[in-house]
Each structure stands twice: as structure tokens, then as C-alpha cells.
Symmetry: C2
Subunit: 312 residues, 2 copies
């Protein structure tokens, strides 16, 4: 298997990427990597960090989509950007997965228009890992790709999230909870009220009912489903806790898990091939984790299982 | 001024209420109280805690609306309940404010149907105090009274919240932020996109733009505006942090402020008279604080200012 990396994306590119690749390769993984970027910048770093030549190939790119460029315009106007080249490699089957910590919007749009949604999926989604107080790990989705949703979208997120939780997080029978503002069926806003019966009838998931804000970190559910507005607010609020903890000089094993830098990005769930979007502030550890995640998505045939699940 | 208390509402009623009254009265406040409840239960406690007879009058009530009763049915079916009696006293001008930690739904519905919205206000709202990392105190609203909102509702919440922040929190020129999932105008879901221009044009507030989840606790805005779904999720998530901190054995001055028990309830903003809904788990300190809040709402003529602000 071969995983492509956008070597120009992220605040600490390309050096932290090279360090992440070194750490990943040190475990003799089954994958090789395609490194997309500026050869002149990459070659000395690859030498410096002693990346074995047989583990990578260099794919030159001459442009970079900057963090604040308009995603669609940039993708169209910069066909030789590292992100555009990455999507081209992935869509033509030259690589098996694509990772970038660059412009998030461009990564989302590239996923939707170049890689395309799995047949039957209305809205691909992005999620985030949720560190549970008891040590478990959950998944919250959507966290911002879909600010406005219909009930059927939430229902699909639940199925996608369950497959992810089972295959990637190793949870045999993931409990799905609907983020809501009351415990009983019938509570909530119009969307949550409409989503509840769909989730209850979805035989591809194990739906356990509503989950309130107070339950998010308490491991009441493995897969937490909501529209991307609420999910994004929760994610960013949780991210901010890490900084607050640092400044308050609070260090516990649990709260150290709020360092979202470590997790290594979020996969775009519901498109035909593995695409992973990294946090702009990713460092070596995050890049290594993104490579491991891409490898696991390929090894577990997650996307094939998703496609099967949505086959009419 | 006279403040009515539902002595039967809340998990620790009536004893913690009596203790809260004792603590409030020990500062020789300008208010007396009307205590609504079961005389047989209250008289021994009032004697035990030495509440001076001149500071209170007893208003007997023979029924209680339980926490899980259907609010509307209960209000209609139990006209002699402590909550029904309280709203009757307030609506007929026999008291100047009403406090209860009983059935939240019944308190909301009583506020809407007995006390009624201030003329011009589409949707009365409830908010919560937000402890900011730098020591400041903000206000988040709506936190659950209005799960689905239109842009104009959010705009009115902003005006109500600003008046509250100015008069009760003592913030001279409260900064209003729109909870959103992006920084720039035009970002967000359909509701946030529609609310932004209304907030920008609202000359009764000082609008500073969008505020993301990561900024909620960082004092970027004094008044944080959103619909009641997102607001309720944020509130309950924040409340859960206090329990997690306790269990993680984390104690800092800042995180101790996440003990929402202490704050003493949330006022219903946008109705004609001061109504304060307490948390079910309120104890003496919370009841004392609710009494102080009611007193301040009366003293600052907050509701008169709100009415003036919405006068066409």
C-alpha cells in the first residue's frame, strides 16, 4: 500500500512531516509513502532524517494552497498545488490514501468533487475523537462539514460512525447516542425529534437514545451524532480546555488526552477513498498517527464496508 | 420589596431554602420574603433556624408539582401547588419576584402564560453565567427554553442579554458575540448567517462578531448568543466539567467556578416580572444567591429597562 502526504500543508511543514515519516517508518510498516511537495526543500530534510530511499517516492508540486485561500477557487486555480496533485494521485489509483494538514476547505471540497461520495451517501462527514473520563475513546460527528443537516443525514452519520468505531476504534458493538437537550424521545429541536425515530429504526446501528451535553465525556455512547454546528462548537470548546488546563497548570492523565494535536487528524467519512485532514498545528506525532490511521483504514477495508452498508 | 419563594421546590427543600433565607437575612437586606408551602413543615424549620418573624410571611399551599410531571397539565391540575400560588402572587402584584427550584417546565410555562412576555418580545429566554478564564463573568443565552430559533429571536436575546450584563453583571458596554463555527461574517449555519446582519445593525448592543467554541471561556465576549439547542449542550457540558474535575481531584480557583450550584438559578428574561428558576440540586448558597439576584433585578429596574428597550 502507498499513502500520499501533502508535504507543504500545516504550520510546521515540511520538517515535522519528515520527522513523522521517520517515526512511522521506524516500525517497518506495510506502507510506503508518496511525498508531494517542493523537491529542493524536501531532499535535504529526507537526508537529514535518514528516511530510507526505498520507503518513499517524491512527487514534485510547484504550488501551495495557503490556509486562508478560498478552497474552490484555489483548487481550480492551482492544479499543481500539493493538494490538487494529491487528489489526482488518489482518484487515479496511484496511491491508496491521501493525508494533508493544509487548507481544510480545499481538502473537503477535493474529497467531495474528486474522490466523490460513496453511492447512497448524501453528505460525507468529519468527526473527532472524544476522550472519555473512564479512559475509553468515542467518536463525535459531524464536527463542521455540515452546518445544516436533515434527519436522514444524521442517520447516515450514525451508520458511518458505527463502522468507524468498530473497525478503527475496535469497539465491537458501538453504542450510538443522539446529542440532544433532553433524555426522552420527543425532546429536542425539530431536527433531533425527526432524527430519533430514524436512528431507532436503523438496524445497522445500536442506538441507545439521547445523550445530553453532560454525558459527552462520560462514555454513555461510543458514537455521538449531531449536526456540524453543535459538533463543531463542542469540538472547539473541548480543544480549548487543553490550553486552559495548561495555563491553570492542571496535568492529569485524562486531561492530557485533550491535546487534540496528538490524534492525527480526522478522516473524511463517506467518500470513496481514505482522505485524512490534519490539524494545521500538527507535529511529528500527529503525522505519524495520521499515517497509522490511513494504514488501518486500508487494512480494515473500512471504505469497502461503508460502501456495502449503503448498497440499496 | 417582597420576594416569593417556592419552599417545596428542589431536591433539598425546604430545609436548604430556610438556611438560604437565614443567610440572606443576616445581611439585613431591603427585602422581605413570602414563603409558599406546607406550614406544618415550614414552621419548625423557621423556628429552628431562627428566621425573624418580621422578615417573612407564610403563604400556605397544599399541592406540589413534582419534577417529572407534565408542566402544562400540572399547572392546570394543581392550582394550589406552590408554583401556581407563586405565579398568582406575582401576577396580581402581591410580590415583586418569584423564585423556584421546582419543575423547570412549569416555571417556564407559568412565566409565559401568567406573567407574559414583555410587549414586543417574541421569545423569552433563559441564560447561564459563564466563568471566564481571566476571572470575568459572561452570559450565555438561550440555554434551552428555545430549541429552535429564528434570527430575530437571537437578535432579541442579544438585547436582553446586554441589559442583563450591564445591570446585573455590572459590565458597562457588554460585548455581544454570536456563537458560530467560523470567524468571518457569512460563516456558519443558515441561522447564524441570518442572525449576523441583524446583530450588526442592532444599535442597542455592542456586537463584536462571531465567537467560536474555543472562545467561549476566554472572555472574547460578555454576552454569547445562540439558539437553545447549542446553548443547552454547552451549559450541560460545562456543568459536567465540575464533576469530572472533582473526580480527577483537580482544584483551581478557576475550575471551582464551574460549580453551577453556587450561582443561584437563571432568570427568565423577557417576561414582565422577575422570575428565577433554580437548579434542582440548589442548596443554601444558591438560594441566598437567587434572593440577591431577585433583589438586584428589582433594584436596578431591569425589567422596566427591558420594556423600554422593546418599545416601538
Amino acid at each position: 500500500m502507498n499513502i500520499a502526504l501533502d508535504m507543504m500543508g500545516g504550520d510546521f511543514a515540511p520538517e515535522e512531516l519528515v520527522k513523522g515519516i521517520r517515526d512511522y517508518m521506524s516500525d517497518n510498516p506495510p506502507a510506503t509513502v508518496s511525498l508531494i511537495g517542493d523537491e529542493q526543500k524536501l531532499l535535504p530534510l529526507l537526508a537529514q532524517y535518514k528516511i530510507p530511499a526505498k520507503t518513499y517516492r517524491l512527487i514534485p508540486s510547484t504550488e501551495v494552497i495557503e490556509m486562508h485561500e478560498h478552497p474552490l477557487k484555489a483548487l481550480k486555480g492551482k492544479p499543481n498545488s500539493s493538494i490538487s496533485v494529491g487528489f489526482h494521485l488518489l482518484s487515479t489509483g496511484k496511491v491508496d490514501a491521501f493525508i494533508s494538514a493544509g487548507n481544510t476547505g480545499a481538502m473537503l471540497i477535493g474529497s467531495l468533487y474528486t474522490i466523490k461520495p460513496i453511492e447512497g451517501i448524501l453528505r460525507p462527514t468529519i468527526g473527532t475523537i472524544v476522550p472519555m473520563e473512564n479512559g475509553a475513546t468515542g467518536l463525535l460527528l459531524d464536527v463542521g462539514a455540515n452546518a445544516d443537516c436533515k434527519a436522514e443525514h444524521l442517520n447516515q452519520f450514525a451508520t458511518l460512525g458505527s463502522l468507524y468505531a468498530k473497525n478503527i476504534l475496535g469497539i465491537e458493538k458501538p453504542r450510538v447516542g443522539l446529542i440532544n437537550i433532553g433524555e426522552e424521545e420527543g425532546k429536542g429541536n425539530v431536527l433531533a425529534q425527526a432524527a430519533y425515530p430514524l436512528l431507532k429504526e436503523n438496524n445497522q446501528i445500536h442506538f441507545i437514545g439521547n445523550v445530553e451535553g453532560r454525558d459527552v465525556f462520560l462514555d454513555h455512547a461510543d458514537v455521538l451524532v449531531c449536526e456540524g454546528f453543535t459538533g463543531n462548537v463542542i469540538l472547539k470548546l473541548a480543544e480549548s480546555l487543553h490550553g486552559i488546563m495548561e495555563r491553570q497548570n492542571v496535568h492529569t492523565e485524562y486531561f492530557d488526552r485533550f491535546n487534540f494535536e496528538d490524534y492525527g487528524g480526522t478522516p473524511v467519512l463517506g467518500v470513496n477513498k481514505p482522505v485524512i485532514i490534519g490539524h494545521g498545528i500538527s507535529r511529528a506525532k500527529a503525522y505519524k498517527n495520521m499515517l497509522l490511521l490511513a494504514q488501518k483504514m486500508i487494512e480494515t477495508q473500512l471504505l469497502e464496508k461503508m460502501a456495502l452498508s449503503f448498497k440499496a
